[in-house]
Symmetry: C2
Subunit: 138 residues, 2 copies
């Protein structure tokens, strides 16, 4: 595991979308944009349905996640965080996690997902192994 | 080739950084954040040095590039463009391209790269094969 410092943790919990790269069965890259949060030292995202990125992560847990934090540094460059990590997929808890993330991403009064009859879904959990990018995390 | 519509072309030429996913020799994903522009129907980025992403793209031209455009849609979701494509690397022209992109990314008066003695460098050129994401390009 590679420790996320306070700045990296802030970038991952402030409502910035994350670009998640996984590997398809044919070896090509797959990229999804997801909402993320932290559960202890794991970066988490919630998924009501079993999607390509989850199937990819089960088959090959090597993933990369990148996030812009909206900060432009003193040289005019946009800061960004790149986290290489090892993913695992757990079952259940997707809707409560999505609701928690929706409060960050959409607003404190948002009800999401809509309705009340949700499948258990899945949580993608990424343990960071390498941190890079431009910003106060390297 | 998959045609980039006007909205996609705007997202790729407005100074938004692009998250570029390539495949490492060991099959794992690699992500770099790069400046991009358009050269005809190819998405281009300039590189003074031969870097991992370029070696990856030569070995396996299957790449994915994703860009946020800073727009939040009517449902509160951040728009983003995902371009799956086929990459090729050409030699030369990196510094002029970087100077052109710096005018977009850093400002119209910026001199970049600094100095005048630059290596020919490389241009990564991506031909789009599939467009996805959230926004007026799907």
């Amino acid at each position: 595991m590679s420790e996320l410092n306070a700045a990296a943790r802030a970038a991952l919990t402030a409502g910035h979308v994350a670009h998640l790269a996984t590997i398809n069965a044919d070896g090509s890259p797959q990229v999804s944009v997801v909402w993320v949060g932290l559960d202890g030292d794991e970066i988490v995202s919630g998924h009501l349905d079993d999607r390509l990125k989850l199937r990819n992560a089960r088959r090959d847990p090597r993933v990369v996640l990148s996030v812009e934090n909206g900060v432009v540094n003193e040289w005019g460059l946009a800061e960004y965080l790149v986290v290489r990590g090892t993913a695992r997929v757990t079952e259940g808890g997707a809707a409560p996690l999505l609701q928690q993330l929706a409060h960050v991403y959409l607003g404190p009064d948002t009800v999401f997902p809509p309705g009340s009859d949700h499948p258990p879904g899945y949580i993608l959990r990424i343990t960071p192994t390498k941190i890079s990018g431009i910003g106060p995390w390297t």
